[in-house]
Symmetry: C2
Subunit: 140 residues, 2 copies
């Protein structure tokens, strides 16, 4: 999803296009992976935008509620990303430096979900799969 489509989407849903909101979308589009509120804030600071943290949280809540971004809590902190409609992906999480990277693997999880739903009477909405370990830099 490119940023202008997203802006249109926001307008269509009655949202306003403030500088902050546009920059946040821009940053998330460019990042193309999970980003924490703290990292997002420091990115904004570099653009001379110094919003209050509560504003960031509210903005991320807004974008999540409009289904523009997805929230994923990893080890206690919330991360956000723009979903990629074609390829559902997973993440590699470094236990030392906490870096997160995307990974695309073939899995039959979508197929499994149907089976699980049937067998367990549990209606699955989504899933999250993270691999924890040590990234290249942190292995030594």
């Amino acid at each position: 999803m490119n940023k202008d489509t997203i802006f249109q989407n926001i307008r269509n849903q009655g949202g306003r296009l403030t500088r902050l909101r546009k920059e946040i979308v821009q940053i998330l589009v460019e990042e193309d992976c999970l980003l924490s509120s703290a990292k997002l804030l420091s990115r904004l600071n570099k653009l001379n935008l110094t919003p209050n943290r509560s504003t960031i949280f509210r903005e991320l809540l807004f974008l999540t509620s409009k289904q523009i971004i997805l929230k994923n809590n990893i080890s206690g902190v919330d991360y956000y990303e723009i979903p990629c409609e074609q390829h559902h992906h997973h993440h590699l999480v470094c236990l030392k430096c906490h870096a997160i990277s995307k990974i695309e693997i073939e899995d039959q999880l979508a197929a499994q979900e149907k089976k699980i739903t049937k067998q367990n009477k549990f209606r699955i909405i989504n899933h999250s799969l993270e691999f924890y370990g040590y990234c290249r830099k942190c292995q030594i």
Copy 2:
């Protein structure tokens, strides 16, 4: 792993067997699924044990460090369970009532891990897979 083996294991590693510690192990063995510190505390209360919360956290840290239990953070809160050596399992997490249940599915994740490690120079230690949705009771 049964509780007496665990007690022996604790003794062997220099840990003491206090009433609290024994009850916590007992509760986790019986639960046989993820339990939060808060739920654990309320189970203990029913047994007329009213430890301080910090004691609970320290106890769970102790058991984790001794590899007797595993910690899994889901949506911002830590859950603990006694690992099951034969079958690695995953979890169904209800988005409404937050109930967590075990699920065993055939996956090739162990095989995938080797491939990922090779391709990404990322040494995987473990993974976590959770399915989010609505449990039987919460589906209306």
